[in-house]
């Protein structure tokens, strides 16, 4: 199916219910490599790349569509419908927490449970609201992204994009998990860090779990607590894991927290 190729959807595992893992800004579905396999015994595990990341179809990247998180949320809905998902578990890391949340508002039937790993409803400070970043810092980030091209070169792109799973590409695969067209990376960073979904939180009707890391500079505890306070009936679990990527740094803790919730 077109949608499944576009988003480089991979499925594995057995089980009635599906568990969809969505990666955040920075890398691709490999972010879940230590977590997703743990659920293959009980769930139909669904992994995908957002358009513009990993092995997605770069030609499907549409500047206008992906200039808001809704474009990404629409893709999640399309994937969910293409797979006939019902009552599935959505696990979204970082910005994909809000993408999944928007998708659940668009198509409430798809998901029965949501797990938000390191969510933030808004990254930039606003009055009393502490997002953790100033507008200037985000502007600097966008500029800084150009200093690291991850070895991206236009000539190389086709071999990477066409063969994300070919280990024989060896050296060329270096950084490939986090490599994408710099223009797209910059646009995705802009969408991510300028997003504001504070008003969407209280519309959520699906039971939601928030996994909050310690010492996470991207999504601080304060930010996580804000999300928890606005999503009706949501729960929060504070992880010992530090940093923004517990799915890589402390997969066991993440797995057991998800397992306990679903």
């Amino acid at each position: 199916m077109e949608v499944l190729a576009r988003n480089n959807v991979h499925m594995s595992g057995r089980g009635e219910r599906a568990m969809v893992f969505a990666h955040g800004f920075g890398c691709d579905q490999n972010m879940w490599r230590f977590v997703a396999p743990e659920f293959e015994g009980d769930f139909k595990v669904v992994l995908f790349d957002h358009v513009g990341a990993g092995g997605s179809d770069l030609t499907a990247y549409d500047k206008t569509k992906y200039s808001t998180l809704h474009g990404y949320a629409d893709d999640v809905v399309e994937i969910g419908r293409a797979l006939g998902l019902k009552d599935a578990v959505f696990v979204g890391h970082s910005v994909s927490a809000m993408i999944g949340l928007l998708a659940s508002l668009k198509a409430p039937e798809l998901f029965g449970r949501m797990v938000l790993v390191g969510p933030s409803a808004r990254y930039i400070d606003d009055g009393d609201y502490v997002g953790g970043f100033s507008e200037k810092q985000i502007a600097e980030l966008l500029e800084f992204l150009e200093d690291n091209h991850m070895g991206w070169s236009a000539a190389m792109a086709p071999s990477i994009m066409g063969n994300p799973d070919r280990p024989e590409l060896g050296e060329e695969l270096t950084n490939s998990f986090c490599r994408t067209d710099p223009e797209i990376a910059k646009a995705f960073a802009r969408v991510t860090f300028t997003s504001d979904n504070r008003d969407d939180l209280d519309k959520v009707t699906i039971p939601t779990l928030i996994l909050q890391c310690s010492e996470d500079i991207i999504a601080s505890e304060e930010v996580g607590k804000f999300v928890r306070s606005r999503i009706p009936g949501s729960e929060i679990v504070f992880l010992k894991a530090t940093g923004h990527c517990p799915n890589l740094s402390a997969p066991a803790e993440v797995v057991s927290a998800i397992r306990a919730y679903v």
Binding site: G26, C27, F144, D147, E215, C245
Partner: protein
Amino acid sequence: MSEFGPVDEYKDLFENAPCGYLTIGSDGRITKVNATLTAWTGIETDKFIGRRLHQFLNMAGRIYYETHIAPLLRMQGFFNEFALDFETAAGERLPVIANAAERRNVDGTLLFTAVVVIKATDRRRYERQLVDSRSELQKGLATERETAELREQFIAVLGHDLRNPLAAISAGARILQRSGALQEHKHLRVLDMINTTVTRMSDLIDHILDFARGRLGGGITLSRDSRPLEPILEQVVDELRTAAPQRVIETSFELTERVDCDRTRIGQLLSNLIGNALTHGAADQPVHVGAKTEGGVFELWVANAGEPIPAAAMERLFEPFFRGEVRDSRQGLGLGLHIASQIAQAHGGRLDVTSTPDETRFVFKMPLVQPAS
């Protein structure tokens, strides 16, 4: 026991190497830092120990570290050539290039991560300038493209808008002519003038449109067939004889093979060449027009006597809007030869010119068999 035993040598190499070293424990906290890095940053060793690497970076670097570098390090076990900015004790930026590699136990547990930092102020500035100048160029290019597109659209629209009033004038003149209302010689001459001017104006508009079309990406499109070409050539010559009755146009056509071409376009090419010869050639000398098929090549030429084309003009002859020295009343847009050469190219052929005091000759040649492409 030498004072510079191996242990001391290695210690010195670590501490005073021309690069910064630091190691990060499995809990993500810095365990060692060398003297070079503390000197570069002005941050003392005990301020580094126990803290996280990203705390010493600027905010953009911190976000990048958390979203790209840390995950990559975990997924592939190393990273190379990352640009980062340390923040020094004095609050200044220290641009570096960093490599890092995880060291793991045989059972795969993470022991520590070694990070090497190379000062790269000039290199990073240079790269920044390249990025900046590239984006400047892209901006300029985008503006340029937009302007060019607008300009060409303008020409195309203008061409169309000019045709309508001209058609009205032409129709009006035709009605007057048919009505027989004009009897006086003077009036009939005015009518002739109107018709001549309408034809000339119409040619000019055709040229503008062809030029715009050629530049709007698609180029000149051909609809080829192999029907006899000679009648078209004859017709073009007849038209021009009618338009310039006082001039002599001599023809010699020897087309023994079929020419696979767009006959209307070849007619246009010939018309432009003869028009050029009539304008610039000596008025009291005939214009020679010839066509032949020979050795797999179709050749069409137009020759006139008169002043040769100045050397300086030769180079720019086929450029759009190039105009030679002629009386104002004969002045065209300077598109005739340009369009002729475009038609030649579209046929896989070429248009050349030779000009001597004896003769100026334009020669169009195209292969009778198109190379497969």
